[in-house]
């Protein structure tokens, strides 16, 4: 049994957001972090490893420096890593990315009792599309927004967080689960883990380039990369911060509200 975790290196949006002339993010000039929801996915996989002793494989698609993030995942407890990297993959949108990652997961191999974990969404694009699309491409059942995961043999019982409540879903493995930050508290890297995370014998890191994946039926020249991506980025920007709300707790909140609105010349 193994847990495959999809992770993404994202710009640290708590810092300054840089945008290139073509409207896309200037990733090179921004500090990078591991996407927070993906850390929850990794932690969920590591918990499964603690409970069952399963293997944890982390996979990402990105430029060569994404190796650093994968090594950090190993330092937290993952067993090995796969870096999907190639010029042909550059500029992929969610549609193209999910095909490439699905092909990568095909190459890793999905067994009957395997679980694929993804973060709900990445903080750079906020699409929440790649996880579900990978599941579709691999013809696997998917459960999104997982806040709690219980494993019982070949089924998972998952608590799905919805806007106004939660839903309990039972799903058969192999399956794909997308996790939210609130699912858990990601563990730190350990000192011992850090000092062996670059040891390729203990923790191999395979690199899948275009040639490694091109024979997968999912990979076709016109479905990957910038050319194969149906999305065109029009503009990237940091949305303006919403001001803090105000609670009216007086005896006559309606009258108070009317007073405030009148003061602001709204009514």
């Amino acid at each position: 049994m193994k847990a495959i975790v999809c992770v993404k290196q994202v710009p640290d949006t708590s810092g300054k957001v840089a945008v290139k002339a073509d409207g896309t993010l200037d990733r090179a000039s921004m500090a990078t972090i591991t996407n927070p929801d993906d850390l929850a996915a990794l932690e969920a996989a590591l918990k499964l490893k603690d409970a069952t002793g399963c293997e944890v494989v982390v996979v990402t698609m990105g430029p060569p420096p994404a190796e650093g993030m994968l090594r950090e995942c190993i330092a937290r407890g993952a067993d090995r890593a796969v870096l999907i990297s190639g010029r042909e993959f550059g500029g992929s949108d969610t549609f193209a990315t999910s095909q490439i990652i699905a092909a990568g997961i095909n190459k890793i191999g999905v067994a009957e009792d395997d679980v694929i974990f993804c973060g709900r969404q990445a903080i750079d694009g906020d699409t929440a599309q790649v996880g579900p699309q990978i599941a579709e491409k691999l013809h696997l059942p998917q459960v999104s927004y997982a806040a709690d995961i219980q494993k019982d043999g070949n089924t998972l019982l998952i608590k799905r967080m919805l806007e106004d409540g939660y839903m309990m879903v039972k799903v058969q493995t192999p399956c794909l689960v997308t996790c939210i930050k609130e699912l858990n508290e990601p563990r730190y890297m350990s000192v011992g883990g850090i000092f062996e995370c670059y040891d390729n014998e203990k923790h191999p890191m395979d690199v899948y380039d275009y040639n490694a994946l091109k024979d997968d039926p999912l990979i076709e020249v016109d479905t990957i990369g910038l050319k194969g991506s149906p999305t065109n980025v029009f503009k990237s920007f940091t949305p303006p911060q919403k001001g803090a709300g105000m609670m009216l707790t007086g005896d006559a909140p309606a009258a108070d509200l009317a007073g405030i609105l009148a003061k602001k010349h709204i009514i």
Binding site: E72, A75, S190, V191, G192, C197
Partner: protein, 392 residues
């Protein structure tokens, strides 16, 4: 000379910083205020391998290196001097002498539990009448031939981690010998004593000016009986063992001092940008700028000495360096502790009246800094070590 960290060292530093920021900093003020030993932090650090950083995996350590250990003490001390010294005393003063001098059986019995943090370690050399004059030991150990047990009597004071430690390295007098000049001197030996040993107890808890969360207590041995195989190192070699242990300990304390100074400067840089007087931030005044510049340069100088001492200790452990690192450790501790005291005092001055209140961490840092000039050898002892080597 290469001043860049390895990939692993850079990553471990990143982890320490995240851990210090999220787990240690939020507790620092309360730990100081209530003089509370942060047990929960020790548990968390144990899980991450921080209680046995530079020991090999075969004995239960994390398999990292001395510099990674030094950076752990430094990063924790940036936000909490108490947490820094817990790691330092445990690692340098208890696990290290067992690792360096223990028999295979002693290593197997103690190191895995110390490195995993299941057991906390401490070191007992100082006595009411034996501070800088460490040879003035009064604690005695006599071998009872009938039971083949050592019987220890005496007391130790100012013992770091004492209230929470499970294993203690105890220095005691085991007889009288003639020195090279034919004079009678004390024969001193080292022992491993466990908290649960009969006749051993932890006494008064000291109320201190700084590092108030650190558990500093008296140790009392009244007919404390321990098996003969708890002798650490050779009989009569205990003083040399203690001095060598302190050489390592001083690198840890130097790292603590360095961390305190860096932490104080970080707080001050943030404060002077915020604080406005005469219509502008006080960072705009050249006095502030020059103070910050001078402190930063002094801290970097101290850091180089501390890291250099750590690298030399690493060389000795790896067998690539033959001579001892006593002088480097003394230089690092002398300069880093002086820098910590000086920098925290000057930082507090930049904070002004607010810095004198307990609403800001700077007064705590100034109190914490002072001890680094005193324990594990005062600054004067460090100067004796350095000048002794010069004039030899």
């Amino acid at each position: 000379m290469d001043f860049t960290l390895s990939k692993e060292q850079a990553l471990v530093q990143k982890m320490y910083r995240e851990f210090a920021e999220n787990e240690v900093k939020p507790l620092a003020q309360e730990v100081d205020e209530n003089e509370r030993f942060p047990e929960e932090t020790v548990k968390k650090m144990s899980k991450l391998g921080m209680m046995g950083i530079y020991f090999p995996k075969e004995v239960g350590g994390a398999g990292a290196d001395v510099l990674s250990y030094v950076m752990a003490v430094e990063e924790m001390s940036k936000v909490c001097g108490t947490t820094g010294v817990i790691i330092s005393a445990h690692t340098s003063l208890c696990a290290a002498p067992i690792f360096e001098n223990g028999t295979p059986a002693q290593k197997a019995a103690y190191l895995p539990k110390l490195c995993s943090g299941e057991w906390i370690g401490a070191f007992g050399l100082t006595e009411p009448g034996a501070g800088t004059d460490a040879q003035g030991q009064q604690t005695v150990a006599v071998l009872d031939p009938e039971t083949n047990e050592w019987v220890l009597n005496g007391s130790k004071i100012f013992i770091t981690n004492a209230g929470y430690a499970d294993v203690f390295i105890i220095i005691a007098v085991t007889g009288t010998v003639l020195d090279r000049k034919g004079r009678k001197t004390k024969e001193i030996s080292a022992f491993i004593v466990e908290r649960t040993d009969k006749g051993f107890s932890v006494g008064k808890h000291e109320k201190k000016m700084g590092i108030r969360g650190s558990s500093t207590c008296e140790l009392i041995m009244e007919d404390c009986r321990i098996p003969a195989d708890r002798l650490l190192g050779k009989k009569g070699k205990g003083f040399a063992l203690a001095m060598k242990t302190l050489d390592g300990g001083r690198i840890g304390i130097a790292a603590q001092a360095l961390g305190i100074a860096e932490g104080a400067l970080d707080e001050t840089v943030a404060y002077v940008k915020e604080r406005k007087q005469f219509g502008r931030s006080i960072a705009a005044f050249q006095n502030t700028q020059f103070e910050l510049a001078e402190m930063k340069a002094r801290i970097e100088a101290a850091k180089l000495l501390v890291y250099k001492a750590a690298l030399k200790k690493q060389g000795v452990m790896d067998g690539t360096v033959k001579e001892a690192y006593s002088v480097e450790a003394a230089e690092a501790k002398l300069i880093a502790s002086r820098t910590a005291s000086d920098v925290t005092r000057r930082c507090l001055q930049l904070f002004g009246g607010y810095g004198y209140t307990r609403d800001y961490p700077i007064e705590r840092m100034m109190r914490d800094a002072k001890i680094t000039e005193i324990y594990e050898g005062t600054s004067e002892v460090q100067m004796m070590v350095i000048s002794g080597a010069l004039l030899r």
